[in-house]
């Protein structure tokens, strides 16, 4: 099963995402902002990054940009969790190197279906 880094400044979202992924048998590492996530990514072998965009300290876009500069994360799938259904945010994420996105609100089922796509 995959090791997934879930980043969100909202504790309830972290709980929901974390619980859902763990229930599906994944190993979940959580962070509440980009800076914390970046640190955790450097000491773990992450298979998939799920990150919120709007976060204090370091936002999701910056996190992805930073992760992509690390050799270990050049090809790792990274999805943004975004409430904006408009294209701006999605594209901003993509420009930074995100693989794709999941639009909030999403159900546990939608989350699992989406990550299944990326993890194959």
């Amino acid at each position: 099963m995959a090791k997934i880094l879930a980043v969100d400044d909202s504790a309830s979202m972290r709980q929901m995402v974390g619980f859902t992924l763990k229930s599906a048998g994944h190993d979940v590492i959580q962070a509440s902002d980009g800076a914390e996530a970046l640190k955790l990514a450097q000491v773990n072998n992450i298979d998939l990054v799920l990150t919120d965009i709007n976060m204090p300290i370091m936002d999701g876009i910056t996190l992805i940009k930073n992760l992509r500069t690390l050799p270990a994360y050049r090809f790792t799938p990274m999805l943004t969790l975004t409430t904006e259904s408009g294209t701006d945010r999605k594209m901003e994420g993509k420009k930074a190197g995100a693989t794709g996105w999941i639009v909030k609100p999403f159900s546990p089922e939608q989350l699992l279906a989406t990550i299944k796509k990326v993890l194959g």
Binding site: S10, E36, P77, M78, T83, G100, K117
Partner: protein, 685 residues
């Protein structure tokens, strides 16, 4: 799916209320006209999180309302809407509405829809012209299901892999939509020695047939939109030449199928998204994650259990300490060293466990900016609120209990302390009055000061009022301290007009009583025309108390040190018996009733002559009394245990504790004892 979303509600509510508080304090600190972008961002983020969470957890009304707020905040962020007082006021009202909505959802009560709609319309009006995007996505028109044979040409740009995307993933997804076949085009593959394995050189021609809409196919390519050349058409539309006459390589992953002419519907029509795997709820990975290193949410119950256990440890240590004193051996010294170390460790452990319950006082302070703003608008005063020492920590329970008295005191400062701008100007002061809240640690206490630069307390007014009320007589000569203390007397109110701000029936006497109940004290300093300062001292925690051990007969009791004024040996000449029963002790200028503990508690003791024992002068609820006890023992910190857990409240006793020898000692409730002895006297008379 067996995931019960309600398990996340509690966290959602907690963080949302915190978010609302953050929004409120952010809004209050916004400078009209030149809003600090970081502050706007913080406010936006809080709204954004509440919107995301409420949407996810199915609180649609909250999500919709927050969406409008968020849109407005986004405009502020983008500087297309300027920050005006009106905008801030409206957003503050929105915060209130949102707080009410969340409370309603949490308590499963009705949302005040009228108010919600009113504020939401106001927000929308502010956004007028700006389109308030509906949160629902555009619904894709449904087509009549017919089998279409799609041809797709997909040529990713060479950097595709660096986005984490993989054509194989896309093919798998496509193959779930219908009959799928793919042909790989390798014409762009460079010579092997020139090949960069990190780049993508291939392109593919895909045939897909089934009841599939173009949107469904586009959606699969959604994430790579802009990272590839993509053509989606029906068989006849895509020019054959793209794939014609080229060397082809079969891609092994999905099973190649040819597009049949019969256009039959596949047996299983996987139109819907991937079926979700069933979740087993009670099988979460046990491994703890390195998450949330900054802070954790722990239920108070768990912390209390820990505190209890540490309390036990303290008792064990003290028991061993007593034992250690009795052992007569060469190794005594080593044992004592060990015990001393155990004591240090225990104490440190206890302190760090206690710290878990501690929270910064900013939690209590954060409501004031809003309150001061609202109040000063209401009564036409100009006030600047200064907060200091917001990171000073104190026990969560204490924080909750000190909050209301603080509100009362701040209201008082604004209402009675600070003058109107004109009066201030006339007195040679700045038009803007200053109210300052300051918190800091001093010794084992937390000190909270509420000060203002207002008109101060006029001792003539106070004494006049006190004489009128019969609290003092005209011949009394009082110190400033004694005069100010009169304000805390029951029923004492100096406001000429009882305003709806501070004259709400709860007087300063209640404030003082509440603070004393927390084991704290309150004091006033004031200078006429310069201002007043109210100083509150609180213990750091309610779970531990500094106690004086006293002895009556064979029993040991504990008197909270904070209630003790002094202890003294009785001089026969200073005791008067009134009506042959009640004994009064003349302590300097004051007459205090003597409470014989052995009588109050019906305990046998040989010490019944006042001159044989000691008087411990205590104060509770503004009244003094002399507790007559056999002897004073040591002083020590005790862990407070409730008698009510397994029994019931007992008059004159506030709780119990466990001493070093494992026995239980009762902690005296001084106020209750004074009351109890007065009742006895009435009965006896």
């Amino acid at each position: 799916m067996s995931i019960d979303m309600s398990q996340f509600y509690q966290t959602f509510f907690e963080e949302s209320f915190e978010g609302l508080d953050a929004m409120e304090s952010g809004l209050l600190s916004l400078d009209v006209g030149a809003a600090d972008i970081e502050t706007v961002n913080t406010i936006f983020r809080a709204a954004h999180s509440i919107k995301g969470g409420s949407g996810t957890f199915g609180f649609t009304a909250v999500a919709q309302f927050t969406h409008v707020m968020e849109t407005l905040l986004d405009e502020m962020r983008a500087d297309t809407i300027t920050v005006t007082t009106e905008t801030v006021d409206l957003l503050l009202k929105s915060v209130d509405v949102l707080r009410d909505m969340l409370t309603a959802v949490q308590t499963e009560t009705e949302i005040d829809e009228e108010r919600t709609i009113e504020i939401q319309s106001a927000l929308e009006a502010l956004l007028s012209g700006e389109s308030v995007a509906s949160s629902s996505e555009e619904i894709v028109g449904t087509e009549t299901p017919t089998v279409i044979c799609w041809t797709i040409r997909f040529k990713p740009f060479d950097y595709l892999f660096k986005t984490g995307n993989d054509p194989v993933r896309i093919f798998q997804e496509l193959s779930e939509l219908g009959d799928f076949s793919v042909v790989c085009n390798t014409e762009d593959l460079p010579l092997f020695e020139m090949l960069d394995p990190e780049l993508s050189y291939l392109s593919w021609s895909i045939k897909l047939d089934g009841v599939i809409s173009k949107e469904q196919i586009s959606e699969v390519f959604d994430w790579v939109d802009g990272d590839c050349e993509l053509e989606i058409g029906t068989e006849d539309q895509v020019p054959e030449k793209v794939v014609a006459n080229l060397p082809t390589v079969a891609v092994p992953v999905p099973e190649p199928l040819s597009c049949s002419d019969e256009k039959k519907i596949p047996e299983s029509t996987p139109l819907a998204a991937t079926p979700a795997p069933a979740l087993v709820k009670d099988k979460p990975t046990k491994k703890s994650t390195a998450a949330d290193q900054g802070s954790i949410r722990v239920s108070i119950d768990k912390v209390d259990a820990l505190i209890n256990m540490v309390g036990e440890l303290v008792i064990t240590q003290s028991m061993l300490g007593q034992l250690g004193e009795q052992i007569d051996d060469d190794r005594l010294e080593k044992l004592q060293d060990g015990l001393a170390q155990l004591e240090r460790n225990t104490r440190e452990l206890q302190e760090s466990v206690m710290r878990i319950r501690m929270m910064p006082i900013s939690f209590a302070f954060q409501r004031f900016p809003r309150m001061v703003r609202d109040l000063s608008n209401q009564i036409g005063k100009e006030i600047e609120l200064r907060l200091q020492g917001e990171s000073t920590e104190l026990d969560k329970t204490l924080m909750e209990k000190i909050s209301d008295p603080l509100v009362h005191l701040v209201r008082n400062s604004i209402d009675h302390g600070i003058e109107t701008p004109n009066d201030r100007e006339a007195a040679g002061k700045s038009r803007v009055g200053i109210v300052e809240l300051n918190a800091f640690h001093q010794g084992g206490n937390v000190v909270i000061e509420i000060s203002d630069d207002g008109k101060g307390i006029d001792r003539e007014v106070i004494t006049g009022k006190a004489i009128e009320k019969g609290l003092i007589s005209e011949s009394d000569i009082l110190t400033d301290e004694q005069v100010f203390d009169l304000i805390f007397s029951p029923g004492f109110s100096t406001a000429k007009v009882v305003s709806d701000i501070s004259g709400r029936g709860v007087g300063m006497d209640v404030v003082k009583r509440n603070i004393r109940e927390l084991g704290g004290s309150v004091e006033i300093q004031s200078k006429k025309n310069e201002g007043s300062k109210i100083i509150i001292r609180l213990p750091l925690t309610l779970a531990i108390l500094d106690g004086q051990l006293i002895q009556v007969g064979s029993h040991t009791y504990i008197v909270p040190l904070v209630s003790i004024i002094e202890s003294l040996q009785v001089k026969e000449s200073q005791v008067n018996a009134i009506a042959g029963q009640a004994e009064i002790y003349k302590l300097r200028d004051e007459y205090i009733p003597i409470v014989r503990l052995h009588n109050s508690f019906s305990v046998n003791t040989d010490v019944t002559q006042l001159t044989d024992g000691l008087i411990v002068v205590v104060e509770g609820d503004g009244q003094r009394a002399g507790l007559f006890v056999d002897d004073l023992l040591g002083q020590q910190q005790v862990v407070i245990k409730s008698l009510e857990t397994n029994f019931r409240p007992v008059e004159g006793v506030s709780g119990a504790t466990i001493l070093g020898d494992g026995t239980v000692a009762l902690i005296l409730d001084v106020t209750g004892l004074i009351k109890l002895s007065r009742q006895e006297r009435i009965v006896a008379a």
